[in-house]
Every structure is written in structure tokens, then in C-alpha cells.
Amino acid sequence: MTAAEKTLIDQFGEARENLPGNGEAWMDDARSSAIRTFEKNGLPHRRLERWKYTDLRAMLGQIPAPATGTPVSDLPDHDGINAHTAFASIERYHGVFVNGYFQPQLSNLEDIEGVEIVNLRGNFNNFPDWVKAGLGNTSVFEGNAVLALNTAFAADGIALRIKAGATIDKPIHLDYVTTGDEAATISVRNLIIVEKGAQATLVETFTGPRDVAYVVNAATQITVEEGARFTRIKVQDEGLDAFHLANMQITAGENTRCHDLTLTLGARVSRNEVNVGFSGENADVTIAGASMLAGKQHGDTTLCITHSLPSSNSRQEFKTVLDDYARGIFQGCVIVKPHAQKTDGRQMTQALLLSPNAEMDAKPELEIYADDVECAHGATAGDLDEEYLFYLRARGIPEAKAKALLVAAFVAEPLEKIEHEGLREGLFQLTNAWFDRRKGEA
């Protein structure tokens, strides 16, 4: 066991009794089982296929102590908080977390029509069954040490139930803000159920200070029931010394449409893992993203879509821009089980390398055990097209500005598919600004 692993186990021993749900048998069981899984496997390392390029055992030398809640009196008001600004002007339901703790006084998530909200810091023994079933489901962290740590340490989070048939009129924005100059480990666990025929859009943004090596471990479990439509947009814009470790698990039901888009801009090391399963047929799932990395950033996107039932579509569409010494990783797998006939699964990953020292590792994987399926994957990597650059410059656009336009153009495709205009524009603002902003920061 490494020193970091030992630290984590000790930290759990100390933190345990102050964690939400302590003393509730079902939660105690989930946490104990999670820490046992972690004790057995330790931090993921490069000899594990799924962690080949992101050796956490080597990278995560120091484990900061779990974040403690900031007293409310020390917090700024809603306008003073350094919340993520890209979506600030959009009509939305806003939920603010500070250092991993939900802040009701900074949020307006109360009384959204058609939504039941449960705060994990709330009264555990009164939790509805759907919350207990979700949080108590220990099978989700099988073989996933980061998710196991999340289950063990989760200090706060939100459970949202979008009620059957409800259409939520505005996006629900969960805004995770890290503050302070002391590094901490932040563990948040969210649970989302989109019931039959409901429609909702969730936005998650992550920001924090630069020069602080904090760690965010965020996990979101999402169940989309029959006929529901669900969109999630995540913007990972952590401080440039942070670790961002994220897990999302989506279960898509019959006739559902799920669209997930992650924009990765921040963190020194990030791992965005998305696993998709199906509980019904004819589902349509898109997992998309754009990563824009510079300096010595390391950004790992690892996806797995497992088609266990027939007749669903899945799309994976990722763009990565790398400058300086940045490293991008894309591991995408599509598994089609023997009974999952008429599956249509497509995957595309494209990288733009702005520097000879940048590195992209793309590892597509198709495992197909059914015969009547359509599956395809593609991976490309290249540098900026000189002909494009010449055309723009020949019209008087200076080189740096021309490059910025072309870089933003490269990642535009997945963003264009976001239907909500304000969110789409907010995303474009971020990608348009990246080229100039990165020079100041990286």
C-alpha cells in the first residue's frame, strides 16, 4: 500500500462519524463496502487497462484532507460568489456548492414544479426509497476505485427526481465552486432520476482557484425512464493545479433520448469517466465532448457504452485540442451483447495538435457479440490546416486571431448540437475565448 492509499484509509476512519447518514444501517453498509473495495484494490494504476494512461497511484502523491464545510457567515452572498459565469445570464434554477457543500441560501432550487429535491445533508432516516435505493446501490463501484472513494467519502450532494411527465422549463444548474487557498478533497455525490416521459436539462460547472492542488471527486448517477428526454452539459473549468475525478453512470430506458456534453478546460489532471447502460429498447444516447488543454494539463476521457438490449443508437463524438505539453486521452468502448441486435453504435474522436510536444492517445474499442448491428469508429489527429490559416490571414485576420477562430471551429460540431440557445452560446463563449485565455494561464 502506498502512503497516499494509507492516508485515504486513515482519513476515512477519522471522517466517518461526521459524514451524512452515519448510523443509518444502509448508508453505513454502502460506505463500509466501498472502503473495503478500495482497501483491496488501492488507487488505480497503469497496469489496469482502463487506467493505462492515467496512473493515479503515481500522479496522486499528496492526498489533501476532506473539505470541511465553510460556516455560512463566512460565505459571500449569491452575487459575490465566484460562480461559473458562462451561463450567468441564462434563466435557470441555480444550485451552488461551496467546497462540496450545498448552499441553500445561495441557491434557488426550492419549489421547482415537477421536481423533488433531497439534500444529502438532510434527514437521512426520512429519505425516500428512491434515494436509498440509488445511494445504497454498491454494485456501481465494482472495480472503480474512484467511485468507491466517492461513496466512502461523499459529504454532500443532491438527489433530484424529475416527476413523470414533467417538462422542466429551465435548465437546472449545479455550480460547484471551490474556494480558499488550502487544498482539500471534495467528494460530491448526486443522484438523478428522470421519470417516465419527463424532460429536463442539467448543467454542471466546476471552478476553483489556481495554484491550489485540491481534488474533486464527483459522481453522478442518472436513471432515465421510459420515454424521457434528458440533457446534461458539464463544464469542467477547475483551477490549473487541481485534480478532477468524475464518474457518471447513465441508465437509459425504452424510447429515451439522452444527450451528454462535457467541455473540459481546467484541472492539472482530469479524468471524466462515463458509463452507459440500457434498461429498455429504442433509446438514443449521445455522449459528446470537447477538451481544450494546454501547459502540462492531462485530460482523460474514458467512456463505455454497453448495449445489452436491442435497437438502440449510441453516439460518441469527441474533439480534443492540445497545446504546449498537454496530453489528451480518449478511451471509448462500445460493447454490443449477443441479444442487442439492431444496435447502431458510432464513435468518433478527433484531435488537433497545436504543438509538437503535445500528445494524444486515442484508444477506440468495439466489442461486438451480435451479428445484425451497425457499428463504426474513427480517430484522427492533425495540426492546424495551413490553407485555412492562409485564407483567413489573406483577409487581414492576424495569425493569432486566425488560429483562435480555427481552434474554436474545430470543437464547434458537438456544441452546435445543444438545442438550448443560451447554453450553446455560453459554451461557444468559452471555446472562443480559450486560445487567448490559455496564454495567460498555462
Partner: protein, 252 residues
């Protein structure tokens, strides 16, 4: 406006321009004609600053300055505009964004104020109407999904917006039907002014019925082998380039 003296240029050791001389005065329209492969596009690219060519001899002076001291975008801001023979498609960059960025970048380089969005939109509306360009087209990515004629008209639209001092049109007529040719020629003629010079590169005399040149030059094997008035274009139309193809063989 433009003085080219004894210009020699090569690509990977292969000479393409071999002692080209050309002088274009302010307000003049010059046509450059010549067989395929004689170096017409190469000349236009060198003028706009494309970096694929080695200049081994000669000079280009533009408005009294050494053109080789200026970067691609500086040349554009100083008024050089090349309407490309083959306009490329750039996915992801909206045509409208591109036009606005280009116009304002040039204005900033020249020390002028940026145009406000309403002022820009008004200008675009005016220029698109004249060229029969549907405004929806500008919401698409640059040249993506444009027909051949639309691509050429989009080049002329850029020219009309940017109001350059030296317009270089590289075979803008190729691939256009008679109506499209007329539109493009009208667009070009509207831009004719005593302060603005033009180099109209074409393989056929057809375009020169609409854009009447002051001078016509024949380019062959990388140099100007003959110059004359607009009647030279007629003669070339009648006799073809056979005579000049021979010279190419001799020169090679």
C-alpha cells in the same frame, strides 16, 4: 501602385516565375492571360504572401514599400485582396463571423475604429443584395455547401466589404454560367475607381467583354512575353495560346 521587377520564384528548386516584370498604375485594370501552368496563380499567391515559394531574385514594390517586408495579414490590411481561383471550405467558421472579424481586424491594423454590429449588418445587407447573395448563406460555415457560383460571389462580396486598393481576381470567371458571370462582373465594375487598381487573371477573353481592361499581358513560362491594349485579348481568343505554349517549351 504595384511594380514587379525581374521576379524569380521557385518551389522546391523548380523555377516557376522566371524574370517577371509588371507595373500597374493607380486606377488601372490589367488583365493577365496565359496558358495553364504559366504561373498566373503563383503570381497571385506571391502577391498575397503565401509562404510556399522561394523568391530567388527580383523585387515587388507596393505603394512604394517593399512587399516582402509585410506579413500576409499586413498586406491585406494595406489593401491587397486576392479573389481565389479555388476558394476553400472552412467548416466551423461562420461566414458572417469571418466577414466581421476580417473587416474589423483590418480596421484595427489601420488604426481605425471597429464597426459596431448594427453598422456592420447594414453594410452586409447592402452588399449582399447587390450580389444576389441570400443572407442565410452567411450563417453557414465559410464556403461549406456553397455552389461553385456562390463561392465566387462570396469572394466578390468579401472584396466589396473590404474595399481593397489592389484587387487580384484569379480566374473568377471559371465555372460560372453567363448570368453568374454578369453578376460578378457588375460587382467588380462597381468597385472600379481612380484609387483602385485591379489585376484580372483569366484564361478566356469572355470576362474581358464585361470588365474592360486598360492593359493585357500574356504570361508564358513564368514571364510576361507580350503586352498590349484590350485588342490583344481578342487576338488571343482567335489564335489561342499555341504560339505561347511553344515559347514555354523553348524556355524549359
Amino acid at each position: 501602385m504595384l511594380v514587379i521587377e525581374n521576379l524569380h520564384a521557385e518551389v522546391e528548386g523548380e523555377p516557376i516565375l522566371r524574370g517577371l516584370n509588371l507595373e500597374v498604375g493607380t486606377g488601372e485594370v490589367h488583365a493577365i492571360m496565359g496558358p495553364n501552368g504559366s504561373g498566373k496563380s503563383t503570381l497571385s499567391y506571391i502577391l498575397s504572401g503565401k509562404e510556399d515559394y522561394d523568391i530567388t531574385q527580383g523585387s515587388i514594390t507596393y505603394k512604394g514599400d517593399n512587399l516582402f517586408d509585410m506579413s500576409i495579414d499586413e498586406r491585406a490590411a494595406a489593401g491587397i485582396f486576392l479573389a481565389f481561383q479555388y476558394p476553400i471550405e472552412i467548416p466551423g467558421v461562420a461566414a458572417m463571423t469571418f466577414l466581421k472579424t476580417a473587416l474589423n481586424a483590418q480596421r484595427i491594423t489601420r488604426g481605425e475604429d471597429e464597426l459596431t454590429t448594427p453598422a456592420f449588418m447594414k453594410l452586409v445587407k447592402e452588399k449582399t443584395a447587390a450580389l444576389n447573395i441570400r443572407p442565410e448563406m452567411l450563417r453557414r460555415s465559410i464556403n461549406v455547401g456553397f455552389s461553385g457560383g456562390e463561392k465566387k460571389r462570396f469572394e466578390i462580396l468579401q472584396m466589396a466589404l473590404l474595399e481593397p486598393s489592389l484587387c487580384i481576381l484569379d480566374e473568377t470567371d471559371s465555372g460560372l454560367d453567363i448570368d453568374a458571370l454578369q453578376l460578378v462582373a457588375e460587382g467588380v465594375n462597381r468597385l472600379r475607381s481612380p484609387e483602385r487598381s485591379m489585376i484580372v487573371i483569366t484564361h478566356y477573353q469572355r470576362l474581358l467583354n464585361h470588365i474592360i481592361p486598360d492593359r493585357v499581358h500574356v504570361l508564358s513560362a513564368g514571364k510576361v512575353v507580350r503586352s498590349g491594349g484590350k485588342e490583344l485579348a481578342m487576338e488571343l481568343e482567335k489564335n489561342g495560346y499555341a504560339e505561347y505554349e511553344d515559347q514555354k517549351i523553348n524556355a524549359a
